[in-house]
């Protein structure tokens, strides 16, 4: 991966979000249903991008814990859009060759009788290129 500064810039471009608008109120993390599962919490995520600390971010399991429920985005008083920043960081990873978080080979053993197609297409779109 190219330099961290460059990556931070890419995350800002892909997301269209400006982490410097954050006033650190923590409402995003308070709203996040995945908070307990995340190593880097939504409000920390925003500061990591602002500080260009990208190496930790792209290796964070939080990338795959975000549910795209948009609670953080809805409730942010400064319209920072943490969900978009997390998605952009994930894109930065899964757009690289061999970095898919979900592969087609894994699918058969994940299936069950009632599983809706919607679940497969959604996971494919979020977890891989």
């Amino acid at each position: 991966m190219s330099s961290e500064k460059n990556c931070a810039q890419q995350i800002k471009e892909i997301s269209g979000a400006d982490p410097l608008k954050c006033m650190k109120c923590g409402k995003c993390s308070a709203s996040c249903p995945s908070f307990n599962e995340m190593d880097i919490k939504p409000h920390q995520f925003v500061s990591y991008v602002a500080n260009g600390d990208i190496e930790a971010l792209v290796n964070s399991k939080s990338l795959y814990k975000c549910l795209s429920c948009f609670a953080c985005l809805e409730r942010c008083p400064r319209d920072v859009k943490p969900a978009k920043l997390i998605d952009a960081a994930r894109q930065l990873v899964v757009r690289q060759r061999g970095k898919d978080y979900l592969t087609a080979d894994e699918i058969p053993e994940l299936l069950d009788e009632g599983l809706p197609q919607q679940l497969l297409v959604s996971a494919f779109r979020r977890y891989r290129r």
Binding site: E13, G16, E37, K65, L67, E74, A88, P116, Q118
Partner: protein, 265 residues
Amino acid sequence: MKYSYYPGCTLRTKAKDLDDYARASAKALGFELEEIENWQCCGGVYPLGSDEIATKLSSVRALNEAKEKGQPLVTLCSACHHVIKRVNDDMKNVEDIRTRANNYMQLSEPYMGETEVLHFLEVLRDKVGFDKLKEKVVNPLTGVKIGAYYGCLLLRPGKLLQFDNPENPTIIEDFIRAIGAEPVVYPYRNECCGGYISLKEKDMAKNMCDKIMDSAKGFGADMLITACPLCLYNLNNSTTDKLPVYYFTELLAEALGVKEEGKDQ
């Protein structure tokens, strides 16, 4: 009134009930859902990256087809609605996406976000009217206590979806009253069911759905209703002593006395 209709992938397979009962109910209420030809899967989730174009084109094709027919585009699955409504907003308001998508599409006339996107519930509220719906009910579900499960995709981001108040919605409760039942308002009705996390991390989705179920039960609901096949799947996989979960269209068809017609389709 005729509407263009986008069913989506899951309504053709695991969620046939959601679709069949909607079509039977529409007929009973006097409007027609005209399925658009050759629709393609919306992708299930809205592509958040501002540089994503190709992943939005299936929505643009559906939107443009409705535009050419001069009809609003009706959706039923919460995920399809979310994706198509947001792509339409991009086509209307984001110049870069509009230009690049139209470069791909090469339409005789560029698509600029002209189509009105309506969820089936919005058709009931804004076009039919819940008072008119109430008049057409032949089997009111009297005494049934129903919890509306909204989930995320219909409500958020509120500014773009413009479906209802994202923190304190009322549309499904009003629907429940119109079919003669009693709505149960409970705190977790707009919390996430886990969505696509249930593919790889089933326990995470289970924990979240347990909270939703406990919340609804604690407030006295007999059942939950939803518009989303993935919410239904996740809620049905919760581990607590659970409530039954139905598509709202099934109860609608029952109240309108057309449940059998829905089954026959």
